[in-house]
Amino acid sequence: MSASNTGSARITRWVLFGLLVLYTIYNLGPILWLVISSLKSRADLFAMPPKLVFTPDFSGYQSVFGIGAAKDSAASIGVFRSLITSVLVSTIGTSVAVMLGTLAGYVCSRFDFRGKGDFMFFVLSTRMLPPVAVLVFYHMMFAQLGLADTRIGLILIAVFINVGLATWIMKGFFDGVPREVEQIAIVNGYSRMYAFRKLVLPMVKGGIAATAGFCFIFSWNEYAFASILTTTKAQTLPVKISTASGATGIEWTQICAAGVVLIVPVLIFFWLIRKHLLMGMTFGVLGRK
């Protein structure tokens, strides 16, 4: 390789590196600003020019978690309650969706039944549906059933938006498990249920983790349904943040703190399932070695 070649290669590398730095700042900048703002007092927050050095003020976080001085303020009670709602809705909704999706995915992977293709498409179409298109009807239905502004109602929504995707992803993972796994067990006198629980399920552990990760993030971030179907009692954290305002105007510090709290579980979940993410994104088709 000639000297000029190495030279231009080096320049290319530096340019690329510079672009990456810019891109990172573009992406992380707002998040960094959010974290900084969540630690500022009201006075520091509005200071001009913006302060980069300041005394951290945790009142925002205290009010999100309902502790400390802000414990009993009305605003705090609301935010803390919405955090609990978000956690409950996401975890229970995810658990149920993954459980149903795992069972349905197994059936779709192993058995042929009338209308299977249509069923699989229908299941997927629930994810293609723009929520806004059906919100009005959900609103009316929920009002009739007494599910409006309840956590149960939101859990049902979380299951609904996730079970189709969970079925598809899990079907992909089950397709990667040879049918012989169950057949050997059946030939040897074990039941299919035993083979499913003790042999097949352990082989798709990673797939279940990835599916759970996706479902959790989708329901954690879900905004459209939650914003229309709740008013006060069962607001989730994303909805609460968008509507938060206190007696003294908009509580920016509190909103920023809530925003940080909203991001953290997503980061934790992605970190936990990072090994399985790629497999999940390809619907398990890479599962078979």
């Binding site: 040879p178 030939v187 040897n188 042999l199 352990p202 082989m203």
Partner: protein, 354 residues
């Protein structure tokens, strides 16, 4: 141990007939190999014997007892599949004793059996490891160990060696044959590899288009194929097939000048309709000097073996050069190697029938 009878076995999937009216007896302790191209129904037959597919009509008998309605687990069979189906979350030992645990066998008995089978398969060092730590060939060995540990009445093997590296496959094939004779277990083995079938089988069951084509010992199926299909499917390189054209005084080989005279032909054959000649490359000789006037077009060698090709009716035919020294020559046909087939049915014309 068991004798297996298939009586008029037919299996349909919707409109597709996968197994068409198959009749067969596999004797106690026999090593039967189902051979045929993919999609010919051999695996479906095997799975029906296992109970993993339902017979649409016909019966499956184990020692004269009808087993159609018995669950796979009630038939006392063991299976090994093409793709290794060990359980990755169990150790090798746990995988092997998996069938025994299902029947609640006593611990001491399980340990004794495991000891025996690990001795047979020389798996002593691997017992504590996980399947992922073993090469594919060794994994298939474990699958075999798992199959035989329960003393099955029938051992069903579905292309067990075809996903293994060639080098290891030879070794496994040899071990498998040896093991089957030692255990004396009735074995049905499915493969599309005729060399595997030839080296393992007591009898080959050749299938094509959902039907049995021929059932015979490997030597017999090689030397006495019942049809064009049998003749061409078995043997490598493949049997040559030449159209015979009736001419005055005999039958001519396609568009070549060579005429087989009445004395070279089975009696009565010229009176039949269209006939084809089948001849294996090993029964075509290249001789120096006179012979049939077939010109050699090309020669090539694979290792020590030399082959030559020539053309009849635009078909390239292949022969084996048996001479010690290469050189020019003309093609002759070994009379004993000539086989005649009905051009319409593809069936062999034996002298008795002609």
């Amino acid at each position: 141990m068991a004798r297996i009878d298939l009586k008029d076995l037919t299996i349909r999937f919707g409109g597709f007939t996968a197994v068409d009216n198959v009749n067969l007896t596999v004797n106690d302790g026999e090593f039967a190999v189902y051979l045929g191209p993919s999609g010919c129904g051999k695996t479906t037959t095997l799975r029906a014997i296992a109970g993993l597919e339902q017979a649409t009509s016909g019966d499956i008998l184990f020692d004269g007892k009808r087993v159609n309605d018995l669950k796979p687990s009630e038939r006392n069979i063991a299976m090994v599949f093409q793709f290794v189906s060990l359980y990755p979350n169990l150790s090798i030992a746990e995988n092997i004793i998996f069938p025994l645990k299902a029947r609640g066998m006593a611990k001491a008995e399980i340990a004794r059996k495991l000891d025996w089978v690990t001795g047979v398969f020389k798996l002593g060092d691997e017992l504590k490891r996980r399947p992922a730590a073993l090469p594919p060939g060794a994994r298939q060995k474990v699958a075999l160990a798992r199959a035989v540990i329960r003393d099955p009445a029938v051992l069903l093997l579905d292309e067990p060696l075809s996903a293994i590296d060639e080098q290891f496959r030879e070794e496994m094939r040899w071990e498998l044959g040896h093991l089957q004779r030692e255990l004396g277990v009735t074995t049905i083995y499915v493969t599309h590899d005729q060399r595997e079938a030839m080296s393992l089988a007591d009898r080959i069951v050749l299938m094509n288009h959902s039907k049995i084509v021929q059932v015979a010992e490997p030597d017999r199926i090689f030397f006495q194929p019942s049809s064009v299909f049998a003749g061409q499917f078995i043997g490598s390189p493949s049997m040559n097939l030449i159209d015979l054209v009736p001419v005055a005084g005999g039958l001519r080989l396609g568009d070549s000048p060579v005429v087989l005279s009445q004395s070279e032909l089975p009696p009565g054959i010229t009176a039949r309709g269209a006939v084809k000649l089948g001849i294996r490359p090993r029964d075509l000789r290249l001789v120096s000097g006179e012979g049939h006037a077939l010109a050699v077009e090309d020669t090539f060698s694979v290792g020590r073996e030399r082959f030559f090709t020539f053309t009849v009716s635009d078909q390239i035919l292949q022969g084996t050069d048996h001479r010690t020294q290469p050189g020019a020559g003309s093609v002759t046909l070994v009379p004993e190697g000539m086989m005649f087939f009905d051009a319409e049915t593809g069936l062999r014309i034996t002298e008795a029938a002609a």
